[in-house]
Symmetry: D2
């Protein structure tokens, strides 16, 4: 039969953890993983010539389960504060004057995380600007803006930010953005922080210009949470899960004792998939023998011409976004203002 | 290799057009299709013992492309008014007193269509209830409620509706609801109207009790728009599109003249897929030889145990829902109140 | 000169504390006052033939200062819980099944307090309705509805409530409503609770039918917070403050030692006004010698024909309503569900 | 009795029409009035040394009745477009590149007019910035921003605007702002346009820095609508209305034929008040003989120390603000983009 023409699906991943599989130990990549209860933290340090083709710098990724659970949310908040402080300390930015930038579109729920956070963060800069006012120790000078999206403003966010930075001269920027997820598992379940800023193609909105130290001339710490995913990724991930499940079943049907173990938990996800190429072909034919990247290209070629590679978000997007913004607001307040403790209820 | 254990994916489709394929002409099913420009209207009449296992009655389905385009929206609105009037006339309800019921959750965007519509429809019942007031001809008595969802109210919507109906005695109910789509193509692009009411399992929210003439004791006209879709459907649809594309390519590579026809349009969707079982197996192995229903069951079994059969909605859900609610509000106002014309701007 | 024609300004006060001045000790009226820090609590018990022409029953009024202050808000919340528990205990309703009713208009900020509270209260009734589910001790069966306003629904709230009550049979109703204030001092600074229900003419919306035990056939506990005020009251209150200030000045200018005391605090409000009729006439002429009720009638006659007796709310209405709803939601949750403590953060 | 100590109530009026009474014909002031049906338009030209102590320039004020009425709204929109075009033509700005600036606080309804308008205006600048794209004739380059309020951003709006202007270089600014009204009659019923920009002390928010050609270095056209009013003004206005009514009654009781004319219309507002000082003293004593400015100072001294000079807005603020923003958005779109006609429905 005729060949599949594999054009290139420009695999766009805003998350380093999504693309680092198998690169551990390679030149230019340094990875460290920790786990606290059910929350994992991954440090990725990339050199300039890293094989991920990502901007060099430090990426910290926090992976968690359910942010809508109150108990869980408190744990996430605590770790987020620890990690953000660590990143700021590393860059010698802790306690410096900060401009919080909420990227995205306030009026589009899946893209509203940045604006929601920026509009709730405790700002203090105007106090520091007042003559004859001495601000209590433990507070830093913080300002916050929501530059909007170019479809609504007609202006590139980077131009708005640069204009404001040139007038108020903050020491650094903390930019919050909703990202595209490149796996079902990570949607609404990941916070990525990096000292590399925001790069073209990232974010839920399109084709932004770079917002980083090289364009804004001050350090840009970016905090991103994946809130949307595309159809290609959903299909491609499902195929991988299918193989994992077949693999798990094969293993466990052989082991008689476990024959009746239900697959109703995530146990099969945690095991390595070990199907042969032959087995994969039996299950999924020609598609079964494509690499993950090739599968994505193929599905992209199927869905895109007919306009069905939808960018989607979960049905509960309003509630989840509210919960995520709560974690980020409280965490950012505690990080930027030493005096603020999590126990203190902030109006929010 | 071991067999695939095909448990039953309870294929839940709120849309008759999604499940009627191949049933045209069967006993108990009567189908009529029309097309006006790029908008199609399908009448489906089901008898009691129809093979779709759907409630007997009349289903009208309007399929369109892009509701966010203003010109298009006006066309959809016009056809919606015509079809809703036809359905009400058929049931002898046109001009009768109506209770509009907006089902769903106001605070969850993809499920907010019903409440948004019900809160904007022109209500007049209180005028008709006033002593010594004569309401201008051309207006009917209309009331509107948003019963909320049981997670927020603690009460079944059907109980709230029944309680109110027993006090105010409308002639019929017009229930608006956000639905689950069972195909990528129909999400946000379909309005389904039926005289059969709302049935368990339908809607974006879960497990509602039936809201129909048999439970509420007055006719219930239901208007539904699919706004969410699950992962299973996205994957299953993609597989069908893949076959269609392979089929299209096969056809057109043979026909030399069309060799260079780009697949960048929807042309391949409109052609029949004519791959042999052997070809399908070559492409997708064992999975390629499963029926659509079996594929869905398989994917359901893969995604559900790990919690990844996400119900999703499009990224632009806020804007699309706003546009859809506009069409429904304007259309319902013109249908229920003879005097209202589309040209008149209503505050909205 | 010609006489002032004093038609009757139907002095509409939703707050008992506003109209009880001077009635302490009269037949049919029993009043008790307490104060905790800067929060005062007043119990008013009215007999059937009370001179206030208010429905007989028990009225508890909590007066406080600034609900936007976090520390203050916690104190108000604590006292609100104590008093609401006391009222429910007195009526033997504590722990009984409750229907929370949020009266008012969700889409009009000053009238949105009821709907905001009802949509956030912890509902549990559906758990109690489930077969084979045993609900943890410490939780009661609570349902919550927002019946909307008749301008939007076309239906009297009382009809909606009665219809639902007849279907789900709660033991009592807890109705939350935004009220009209009859003094500048009380706006957004008062919570009134009563076992007498909601009466015609009360609330920010107009002309509601009675919602009380005599119409709904189960006890109706009403919780009201004044969020709007009319122009007549602002003017009339200002005249009283003016007299108080003149009176204060007279006193303190005579007492040489205090000559320089600034009036920049509220000290003059706490002193009795003791101007003679002659002095009042000197200051405000004929108007100075009218009773407060006559002054209101006069101003009403001036402002009403020209449409300028505006019902107004404070500029910060969004923020204040948010804070007030927070207090009520947290307080109601703790009162209805023994298990819930204030420390537990509820998602809100 | 002791004297009234008249300290200065810094009469703050954002509206020129409120303070121009009696100045017609004076040096430095040129006034022209027109009326179309029930909408009046007033041109005020002020020289540098004008007695109003206002910035020199051209002020156009449109006064109307009820913006919530659809028919009325269309008339207001039409006149608004005519007048705004006239002002822009006069300054040779019609068709030039424009930055729309929505001043105020999105999250505080009475102060949200600016942000609401700026977020809905049709922006086109990004099209003009694209290489190889030729924008259809009849559209100008328009960008729009909402700088927020310093309490939320920590940054002066003027700094944000200046920063952005310096980056994108528009030809002029169109700044929309909610104002404080200095009379009951004008609240929500006035649009003021001026070429003088925004000045300290104006607006619903406090103490902004000047936003005008002298600070931003490009022309700043300001569009303001009064949406809030303070208690002092309500009381002071009521006193003036009282005098007018007494005056009207005096007149009409003498003229026997009109004896029974009801005062239920606004007829008494349109007549000159002609009470003698003696009559005023009879009615309102010492206060009756104070000038309007003195009355305001007095009331200010009464209400301010006790914190009761509330800034208030009408109860229907949500609906009215929505209607006002509709007029401004549609009007601004038609003014800036020649191609846009009112009949075209814009999504909004």
């Amino acid at each position: 039969m005729h060949e599949i023409d594999l054009k290139n699906y420009s695999i766009r991943s805003d998350l380093v953890v999504d693309v680092m599989a198998g690169l551990e130990g390679e030149k230019g990549v340094h990875i460290e993983k920790r786990k606290q209860e059910n929350i994992s933290v991954t440090d990725v340090f990339l050199d300039q010539d890293n094989p991920l083709k990502k901007k060099e710098g430090h990426y910290i990724t926090i992976c968690f389960d359910d942010v809508t659970d109150t108990t869980n949310r408190k744990k996430i908040e605590k770790i987020f504060v620890e990690e953000l402080k660590r990143l700021l300390e590393e860059k010698e930015l802790l306690g410096k004057t900060c401009l919080v930038v909420g990227l995205g579109n306030y009026e589009s729920t899946p893209d509203s995380l940045g604006p929601k956070v920026a509009s709730k963060v405790l700002v203090t800069r105007y106090l520091f600007e007042m003559k004859d006012v001495e601000v209590e120790k433990g507070y830093s000078s913080v300002a916050a803006i929501t530059p909007g999206v170019s479809g609504t403003t007609g202006i590139e966010s980077s131009d708005i930010i640069l204009g404001i930075v040139e007038r108020i001269h903050p020491d650094f920027i903390l930019a919050i953005d909703a990202l595209a997820s490149s796996s079902i598992e990570r949607i609404n379940r990941t916070i990525q922080m990096t000292d590399t800023g925001i790069h073209p193609g990232s974010g839920v909105g399109n084709k932004r210009k770079e917002i980083s130290e090289s364009t804004i001339h001050i350090p840009v710490i970016a905090i991103g949470v994946p809130t949307v995913i595309d159809g290609v990724t959903i299909v491609s991930d499902t195929i991988q899960y299918m193989f994992k499940q077949f693999s798990y079943n094969k293993e466990n049907i052989d082991k008689k004792s476990q024959k009746l173990a239900p697959i109703t938990s995530k146990n099969y996800l945690e095991q390595e998939e070990n199907l042969t190429q032959e087995e994969k072909k039996e299950i999924l034919g020609m598609v079964g023998n494509l690499s993950e990247e090739e599968v994505k290209s193929l599905i992209f070629e199927v869905l895109t011409p007919i306009g069905y590679n939808l960018m989607v978000t979960v049905k509960e997007v309003d509630f989840v976004t509210e919960c995520l913004s709560k974690v980020l607001v409280k965490g950012i307040n505690q990080t930027l203002h030493q005096k603020i403790k999590t126990e203190e209820e902030s109006y929010f």
